[in-house]
Subunit: 297 residues, 2 copies
């Protein structure tokens, strides 16, 4: 990069974060890169509140457009998931300029609606990876416990994301994603809600990694029905299953199949190769996956 240090713009297309969290992420970035710390520009919109959302649809859309189109911002980092990314204005995408097309966009979970659409439109470098709010994992935050909790689980997750954003640290990559394959990663439920819309990317020849959290297994099964029936996914190179965590308990009989049996069943039915497990999930161990493959990063 031509500049001495990176400028990372943080916006919140779904739920809000606390100013205190933003300050802790800035402090962590300063510690990780003492010689040339990245500048974190946290959009004030991140702290706004409109019921469930970090501001109204118009406010969240404007903040995203503001930073995406700003040539002084090198990367857009989504603050956290929750729900709301699919509500951003459809008009946004036509309004993105050349500066927006040169950027990296990182997030996961609900923000997969935006990542998928940016990737479909061929805008920027689209990356599945930890978000600022992951700093709260494993240290009393509200999010589910990480798959492999450590005292500094949340710190490790956010440091992984920052190292990838700042220096394209290959150690941050999900192992499959570090190879030569085209890759994509989604929250399963988000992809199931995207494939029926005009905004879903074509995943031909991609290794598609899917993870989920806080769902009943029958809903995981139903989402697999949708995703593996989609013509956009049927042309994939294969599916890898990330972690399915915090599974809710059935109120009637046990569901018959485990999450991996579900994935294998639907892959077999649909003729999509099942390629094993992926190291992604709603947890602090969540790794980085570049849409299209690591060579694009």
């Amino acid at each position: 990069m031509a500049k001495e240090s990176l400028t990372i713009g943080v916006v919140a297309p779904a739920a809000r974060i606390e100013p205190e969290l933003a300050a802790r992420v800035e402090a962590l970035a300063a510690t990780l890169f003492p010689d040339a710390p990245p500048t974190l520009r946290v959009h004030p919109q991140c702290f706004q509140s409109a019921g469930h959302f970090a501001g109204t649809d118009a406010e969240r859309s404007a903040a995203f457009l503001d930073y995406a189109n700003d040539p002084d911002v090198d990367a857009i980092w989504f603050a956290r998931g929750g729900y709301g990314s699919c509500r951003l204005s459809d008009g946004l995408f036509a309004a993105l300029n050349d500066a927006a097309r040169a950027k990296t966009y990182m997030g996961y979970s609900d923000t997969g609606s935006l990542l998928g659409r940016l990737y479909k439109e061929g805008i920027g470098t689209v990356v599945h990876g930890p978000m600022p709010a992951d700093l709260n994992r494993g240290d009393g935050g509200h999010d589910p416990a990480p798959a492999r909790p450590t005292a500094d689980a949340g710190r490790d997750a956010v440091a992984r994301a920052l190292r990838f954003l700042v220096s394209r640290d290959a150690a941050a990559l999900e192992p499959t994603a570090a190879g030569g394959d085209k890759t994509a990663a989604f929250n399963l439920t988000i992809l199931a809600h995207l494939v029926g819309t005009p905004w879903a990317p074509d995943l031909t020849d991609h290794v598609v990694m899917l993870e989920d959290v806080s769902e009943y297994l029958y809903r995981i099964d139903r989402a697999f029905f949708t995703v593996t029936s989609s013509p956009l996914v049927r042309k994939a190179k294969g599916i890898k299953l990330g972690r399915v965590s915090d599974v809710l308990e059935n109120d009637t009989a046990d569901f018959v199949f485990s999450e991996e049996e579900i994935a294998k069943t639907w892959c077999a039915r649909s003729g999509i190769p099942y390629l094993g497990r992926a190291d992604i999930g709603h947890d602090a161990a969540n790794k980085v996956v570049v849409f299209g493959g690591a060579a694009r990063a």
Copy 2:
């Protein structure tokens, strides 16, 4: 009809029912039509159990095909919802014969996966309406309370379905569905999981009625995003909102919008006319809607 009385075949593509429930529905049918009671042929598969399901996928598929292709069965009545209809064999549909094409198929909720696909394939008369398991509503059954509970709420629901199956009783019809419009009715979440697959019907010029139960409002909103973004639904004449019952409470802030505001917002965004409320829902007041319009029944 040529025969003196109707034969209704009951199969369970999703969850099982108890033999005692089937006996009560048969007794009700005998009471309602003392001169020519319909014959209820309840497939033994309805009482089978495989974890979450009324038998394995193969067993449920075989039972459906058995009764659908039987020329002595006039109508297929799905026993109850739950989850599992989308798991029936894809090969079923090509195996349906002329007897299957002459039948009526009635159900709702999870069985909408099958209704939608039958309608897409142009097979039979496809009808959204109460199911045998609705007999348990309002009298100590496990299902959510009806919208307008009465002591005999469940009995009224099942009687409504039977009167429509036996005599095409116009009083059973949802008011909109009684007019000249093309109509269709779905559980919102089921339709959201169907529109991304090759099995979703084209809803051009249809009044599409949507209901849901036991969901968070943010999920209702997300499903509306998917359904109203679907090219198959964007050509609809309009959307009518059925009841959204037993809404789950957000664990963070209140969701900003009511279910009707959600429906209006997404209809406005997508250019689909919002046509008001429909008298359908996961409750004993749930009315009958014929896919394609009442004139097809």
